[in-house]
């Protein structure tokens, strides 16, 4: 059974939202196309090879090909608010298949970053939540601690999920594959100094992550 992710039973959000051409954001594609990986965006021939090679396209509300077309047309709200960008698991199948060498996986990353920065992503949705929890934990400690990351993630998004996965956690623990020890690097002082240096994203502003 294939369940397509949509925000409401009425179908994908984009179909209901854009009504007037004046609501499109003509600057959106230019800002995206300036980012490394997405810079060949304007060369897309809409062949659909990306969608055809995507292992999760059947679950997406917008296909990768549609994402490119809608990004270029300036459908900013629709593209940044969709599920598709979060379903991309970064397998790069589209990127190596694209006949126009568009780095579609990196385009998805660029869209994810902007969606997080501007708060467009679906609320309480676990995928962006995982990215953010991971980001904070590593920024704090320099390393990821898998058990702690999962607990924090479940606490924020889906406490019941922790209960449901407790058995798997226990089985992993018994095999020495899961624990709650906090891993960290030794030289945290210089690490924090390095990570506090602001990122220079497209707009040159320091990225704030809530």
């Amino acid at each position: 059974m294939i369940t397509r992710l949509t925000k409401s039973s009425e179908g994908p959000r984009w179909s209901a939202q854009v009504q007037y051409e004046s609501k499109l954001d003509p600057d959106f594609p230019d800002a995206i196309a300036r980012l490394p990986g997405a810079d060949k965006l304007w060369g897309c021939i809409q062949c659909g090879t990306c969608t055809g090679s995507c292992p999760v396209c059947q679950y997406m509300d917008l296909s990768p090909r549609q994402i490119i077309a809608m990004t270029r047309a300036g459908f900013k709200e629709e593209v940044l608010g969709c599920f598709t960008i979060w379903l991309c698991a970064s397998c790069y199948a589209c990127t190596v298949a694209c006949p126009k060498q568009i780095q579609i996986t990196d385009l998805m990353y660029a869209l994810k970053r902007q969606a997080i920065r501007e708060g467009h992503h679906p609320k309480r949705f676990m995928i962006p939540a995982l990215a953010r929890e991971f980001f904070h934990l590593v920024r704090e400690q320099g390393r990821n601690s898998e058990g702690i990351l999962l607990l924090r993630l479940y606490a924020k998004t889906n406490p019941l999920g922790a209960v449901r996965n407790a058995l798997l956690g226990l089985r992993l623990f018994l095999r020495g594959r899961m624990g709650l020890r906090m891993e960290s690097i030794r030289d945290k002082a210089s690490f924090w100094k390095l990570m506090d240096r602001g990122p220079a994203e497209a707009n040159g502003k320091k990225e704030k992550v809530a």
Binding site: L35, V96, T105
Partner: protein
């Protein structure tokens, strides 16, 4: 040649068996791996989704530390990264700074603020590549003490060691692992899903969908007659090993191992020293069946 080892977070926790098998295999080939001192997380896929510059700096700190460890030698330091996500994160930043001068400039400045420098003298290597290209299949064959005759293996590369930068093999139909498995006596099965996505972190976040991707891989491998699957990534191994259940019962029971564990077994290293006891689905029945079949 200096080989440094960059374990990454998974190889210290859920993917411990990968480290436990990698180190003795390299040791027995005369390539002791020294762990990169005070390495940090590579950033994986999550950092790129949140903050691009931070993801570059995370990867670059490791490269800078590796280069510093290598000293002033002209020879590049070889940084062995077994985890696919680590491997790609390190390679990706190298490509980005080579292709985008402004990224090179900004990251150099940021590294300098923290007292670090990266001059570009590190080669990021996957252990599969080191075994097949540096050590060579002949040397591996001559080290084999207990060939895995009769063991039918599905060779699973996953995505990120060959995509988007196919450094040592084809991005869709790689063969390195198949050749390595043949060299240790095992029989790779013909299997077209060798680089198809295992679901990555989706198995944890959108379980129904992520697990479906994993199950497809396992079911096809079983249909093709595989008795085990060799993986080269801790996340692939985790997904494929842990989610073969349906409603509490095992739907399939295909043992999912690290390729280094099979190489270790063929070298005569006992399974206990290769972390074989850490998997959900034990390999022993498949080994026994293969041994029985090859003696008939």
């Amino acid at each position: 040649m200096t080989y440094l080892y960059y374990p990454g977070c998974s190889l210290k926790c859920s993917g411990r068996a990968y480290e436990e098998s990698l180190l003795p295999v390299f040791e027995s080939l005369g390539i002791p791996l020294t762990e990169l001192p005070d390495w940090n997380c590579c950033g994986a896929t999550a950092y790129m989704s949140v903050d691009q510059q931070a993801s570059f700096l995370l990867a670059l700190r490791n490269l800078a530390l590796a280069e510093r460890y290598g000293g002033d030698t002209k020879e590049p330091v070889h940084l062995v990264a077994p985890c696919a996500a680590c491997y790609l994160a390190l390679i990706k930043v190298q490509h980005r700074i080579a292709e985008h001068p402004e990224i090179a400039r900004e990251t150099t400045e940021d590294l300098a603020e923290a007292g670090l420098e990266y001059r570009g003298n590190v080669r990021v290597r996957h252990p599969l590549e080191v075994l097949v290209d540096d050590v060579g299949l002949d040397a591996i064959r001559s080290r084999v003490r207990a060939p895995l005759h009769g063991l039918r293996v599905a060779c699973y590369y996953g995505c990120q060691i060959v995509r988007p930068y196919p450094v040592f093999d084809d991005p869709v139909n790689p063969t390195t692992l198949d050749r390595l498995m043949t060299a240790i006596g095992a029989e790779p099965v013909t299997w077209p899903l060798k680089t198809r996505c295992c679901g990555g972190t989706l198995t944890g976040t959108l379980h129904e969908m992520g697990a479906r991707l994993s199950v497809l891989l396992v079911e096809e491998a079983v249909r093709r007659g595989a008795a085990t699957m060799a993986t080269a990534c801790p996340l692939c191994q985790f997904n494929l090993d842990c989610y073969q259940q349906k409603r509490g019962a095992l739907a399939t029971s295909l043992p999912i191992v690290y390729f280094t564990q099979l190489v270790g077994l063929a070298f005569g290293i006992p399974g206990k020293r290769l972390g074989l006891g850490r998997h959900m689905i034990p390999l022993e029945p498949a080994l026994a069946a293969a041994a029985g079949a090859s003696h008939d």
